[in-house]
């Protein structure tokens, strides 16, 4: 991949991939490393990429594979701080600034909602979390997810179902409390 191709890739998919990394990894630093390595790996794996096809799915699968490989590396950190700070102050600022000029009240509501959902998703077991992120965040079809994760479509569906059940319970107050 040449530099300008890489640049195009980053412009096009950077946000999506970063968001995926950010929710997979617990810490910002881990997420940034993962994000960076995903693109570097993409450069390295040049030739195996079908950019005509679906680069986003492919980049997601690279990110997921890298993440699986390094989870162990981060495991020791978790032992020290077993609470995952999914949302940091900086995220809150960013989230706030990214809302497109909504009213103050709406902004706060939106932030609270994002926080609640992110932490509920963050608490899901790893295998369910990846499916949820790929489906809802990255808008991948169940078939694409099955290719990215290397599992049958049926398994994707059953994991999605299981994750939904857990999330519904966890997010009850979000669903009813605000009368969505």
């Amino acid at each position: 991949m040449e530099k300008r191709e890489l640049e195009a890739c980053i412009n096009e998919y950077g946000k999506d991939i970063y968001s995926f990394c950010r929710h997979l990894a617990c810490h910002r630093q881990e997420a940034e490393d993962l994000y960076q390595d995903t693109f570097l790996k993409a450069v390295e794996l040049e030739g195996k990429i079908d950019f005509e096809g679906n680069p986003k799915s492919w980049l997601l699968s690279v990110a997921l594979r890298l993440w699986k490989n390094r989870k162990r590396k981060y495991a020791w950190r978790r032992r020290i701080a077993d609470i995952c700070p999914i949302i940091e102050d900086k995220d809150l600022e960013n989230a706030a600034s990214l809302e497109q000029e909504p009213s103050c009240e709406e902004r706060i509501l939106g932030m609270e909602e994002r926080l609640a959902v992110a932490s509920a998703v963050g608490r899901l077991p790893e295998r369910l979390k990846a499916v949820v992120l790929l489906y809802y965040m990255e808008e991948q079809s169940t078939k694409q997810i099955s290719e990215i994760m290397g599992i049958p479509v049926g398994t994707v569906l059953s994991r999605l179902h299981k994750a939904r059940k857990i999330l519904k319970r966890e997010l009850e107050s979000e669903l009813y409390g605000k009368g969505i």
Partner: protein, 433 residues
Amino acid sequence: MGKEFRKELDELDVLLRRALAPAEGPDERLNQRILNSVDGEEKIGKRERMKAEMEKRKWRRMPAVALTAAILVGAGSLTAYGAYRYLSLKGALEEFGDKGLEEAFFNECATVINETQSYGGYDVTLMGIASGENLTEYARESDGKIRSDRTYVIVAIARSDGSPMPDFGEPGEDSAERDFFVSPLIEGLDPAAYNAVTMKGNYSEMLQDGVVYRLLECDDVEKFADHELYLSVIGGSTFYDRNAYVSDEETGKIHRNSEYNGLNALFRLPIDASKANPEEAERYLGELGSNAGAESSKGAVKIELGDDFAVEAASGNEKGAEAAEYALEFVGNPYEWNGESLTEGCDSSGFTKGVYEHFGVSLPHAAAKQKDLGQEVDGIEDACPGDLIFYDGPSHVAVYIGDNKIVHADTQLGICVSEADFAEIVMIRRILR
């Protein structure tokens, strides 16, 4: 009800989609960093950059003083020469640079660890380990022998106060400040006898931004993965220091000596126990034994007892004589590291343990521990059949059978009779009366 449930799920879907929609992009600087690391026209990946880094390294061999340690530890001087020949192989390290150890580390066969410990004014980070079968493609040829499985470990050492480490300087110059001994250790094996030196260790290091990076390679330790595996880093020394760690004689587990004055980091190596290969481990130890004479009796010779041999019972020592007779029943049975079966295989202390058990005496499975039991006997001339004779450390133990002979489990010969003075006797103990 069913319809309502469906509706809730839809609401959940809406909520999830809205709340999880990618909102935050990466920092622009992060993107810039990625782009900068890829050169304008050439396809340069991380691997190439690593290679460039590797070339900046200074390659160093295990210094001669480590070899002295091998002699002191192993007692078999032949081994030390063997080790020296290997260590003096020129270009071996550069060669593995070429053959893409970086590749091994940055592809999937390595475990990245990044654990830091701070002791004695240093921060030591165990960065990663690569070992096992999937590294065989990186194997090298040396001494005309293909040596396939090796373990590679990378550690970074920095001063805790942040000041830079001194440059390496010239060989021979006083260098205690940047001397480190990095070695894997294995649960149940005496660290003084089984470390990077005896496991044909070799290292290279480089200094960058005041941090020393060291790449250690030695014989593959994965085969021992059914035991706890450690990585030790000792400061101010280029060989193993007996004071740095404590080996629990009961369990074989190795711990830091908290009293130790200086750097004595100890990491657990996260190698999956399923990678263990006990047969290979045993064969390897046998090989080390025959070379280094590490655990075993060096150069013990098997003696066939004549038909007329009989254990002579000294008065008051009938039980000991019985034990010696009993021990002789197992001559011809195999040696097995860590084994405790008199018939299926045992090591030296497993053998004495098994024999004594028959007489209602329970011994720990470690020569070093057995030597503290019972009464000391002054010399071989005062020894009675059934006494335990200790050698080498002690890491080896035998049952005396009289007439200057012993029966023991030898790594090479299995359970056999040898001369009592085949090696220097460090202790004789009378436990049975």
